[in-house]
């Protein structure tokens, strides 16, 4: 076998857990002084729920994202270090990507920076999903209902989490700054080192930890940088501010976070196998990780995400302090819904009415094991979801007024049942989305995502 040159350590500066969550400039500067080969951040998550993907809005703030990006891009372009951002705008569909690109162009103009901007889109056409469905190339994840053509048709902003391949395509084309749509979180960190020949298991596992930046350190923080050094047989993690460090416990514990199986972390094209993984304390707040392996899957599968419109929401917030009412609250709320539906008849048929009763089971709903309410007061959020905003407003207004004056058995406080903290008491919340697609799709070309280079 031909003897090849040993790979030098590959150094990655991860700035923040989610682009826009911020990071101390001192940590960033310390990271830069270590001469990183890559500056990267993940910008996305499905955690804030389906609304953001559906509405095309970012769950992060523009000013905050601009502040983070300005520091990253300025340093990257000036020092010739690639800057990679994944899941732009939080959800990574076209409107989110455009939102983020607009910020990048603003920064370039303001700072008089010129660079090759690589762009990768994560949007997937309905026809593509329908075709895959027909060909048996769609697979359901646990507890997710099987996908149907009707659900695909109802869905909006279908995206797929891209793997490393579109990033590599853009790096090959000379991109200095890459902004991508929805991406597999570790891909932004792992694409460049894997392209340079580093082990994919180690690179992806390092990416999996760095995507949350200093959350994996102790004390953890989503608003601080983390530094990773990848070698041929392991990687080293370190924090960049004096108040935190990495320990084997903190790094391992992070591997548990938000995942259903910490030994096998599935992603595009395969999974990271951590069954032989070791976390070793190197002292001075540094941890060495080894033994992570990438196991390619049978066929290349991508995770699809999409949402559909579930209706329009209106809410009202109120408190109850009357013990007689608190004792009967379940019966009262049931009776109020019956009364509302009786009055509105057909006009309320499409509406869902929910009472979130804080102090009783507002947090856990039906899962709440404590059945006997001991609170001396309750907070009630009345929620209506209807096919149109006007309908939601109307049903909510009636539910609120019926509950306010409902004459329950034994009532002695006859002036009104609710304490409203606000006037107006009702809030129209607008569109409500729900996840509709959360499935795997098999593709023949992992780099099929549209990519382009823009000279900024």
């Amino acid at each position: 076998m031909e003897k090849r040159k040993k790979l030098p350590p590959f150094k990655i500066l991860s700035t923040t857990a989610i682009l826009g969550y911020g990071f101390p400039e001192s940590s960033f500067k310390k990271g830069l002084s270590k001469k990183p080969d890559l500056i990267a951040a993940d910008a996305g998550s499905t955690d804030p729920g389906p609304y953001y993907l559906g509405s095309g809005k970012s769950f992060t703030n523009r000013t905050a994202v601009k502040r983070d990006l300005r520091l990253m891009i300025k340093a990257g372009v000036e020092k010739n270090i690639p800057v990679i951002i994944g899941s732009a705008g939080g959800s990574g569909a076209r409107p989110h990507l455009e939102w983020c690109l607009d910020i990048v162009r603003d920064i370039a103009r303001e700072e008089k920076l010129h660079f090759k901007l690589g762009i990768a889109e994560a949007d997937i056409k309905k026809e593509t999903v329908l075709k895959a469905l027909k060909n048996g190339q769609i697979s359901s994840l646990p507890f997710v209902p099987p996908l149907t053509p009707a659900v695909v048709e109802e869905s909006e902003n279908i995206v797929a989490q891209m793997g490393i391949e579109p990033f590599i395509k853009l790096l090959e084309a000379g991109a200095q700054v890459i902004v991508a749509g929805r991406s597999y979180d570790p891909a932004v960190f792992a694409a460049l080192p894997i392209w340079r020949g580093y082990d994919p298991g180690l690179a992806l596992h390092l990416g999996k930890i760095l995507e949350c930046a200093a959350i994996a350190a102790t004390p953890g923080s989503g608003s601080d940088c983390a530094f990773g050094t990848l070698t041929e047989d392991s990687f080293i993690l370190e924090a960049l501010s004096p108040e935190r460090k990495f320990t084997p416990e903190s790094a391992a514990a992070h591997t548990l976070y938000e995942k259903s199986d910490p030994y096998h972390l599935p992603g595009p094209g395969g999974s990271i196998d951590l069954t032989g993984c070791k976390f070793e304390d190197l002292g001075q707040g540094r941890v060495r990780v080894s033994g992570s392996r990438f196991i390619p899957s049978d066929g290349y599968w991508l995770k699809l995400e999409a949402v559909r419109l579930a209706g329009y929401r209106s809410i009202s917030v109120a408190g109850v302090r009357d013990q007689i009412m608190i004792d009967k609250i379940d019966d009262i709320l049931k009776a109020v819904e019956v009364r509302v539906r009786d009055i509105l008849g057909k006009d309320s048929e499409g509406s869902q009415i929910y009472f979130h009763v804080y102090g009783k089971n507002g947090v856990m709903g039906e899962l709440e094991p404590v059945k006997k309410t001991r609170s001396h007061e309750l907070g009630i959020v009345i929620e209506v979801v209807a096919p149109a905003q006007a309908e939601a407003d109307a049903v909510l207004a009636l539910a609120r007024s019926v509950l306010l004056h409902y004459g329950y058995e034994g009532r002695i406080a006859t002036a009104g049942n609710l304490a409203f903290p606000f006037s107006p008491s009702d809030v129209a919340m607008g569109k409500v989305y729900e996840f509709s697609i959360y499935h795997l799709m098999e593709v023949s070309d992992p780099a099929f995502f549209p990519v382009r280079i823009e000279q900024v």
């Binding site: 955690d47 729920g49 994840l141 646990p142 507890f143 391992a252 199986d261 709903g365």
Partner: protein, 107 residues
Amino acid sequence: MKSKGKRSIMKVAQVIRSKNSGPYELTLDIIFKERRYYELFKKKKLITAGKIASLYGVDKADVLKIIYFEPSQAIKVTLKRRIPSGTPGDTDIYGAQQHAPLLNIKF
């Protein structure tokens, strides 16, 4: 009735938390302070699908898996979300406050 000599899990756990693992799953982590308690829970099978199902009042089939994670001396349990994150009727978008029933475990 309180059984004599039983200890609360809160005495031996460093972390007890819940969080979404995607919009359709809820994942519960118990990280132990000391290895010996992790080993005890593992050996005596103190956390089972049946136990979790009864604590949460759900079907055993809704408990997807229970995994013992050596590097963190932790037990991870993954459950079906009652309602997917953000679907009308949901009460906890991030799934971050669904761990409370675990605090009642005695051993």
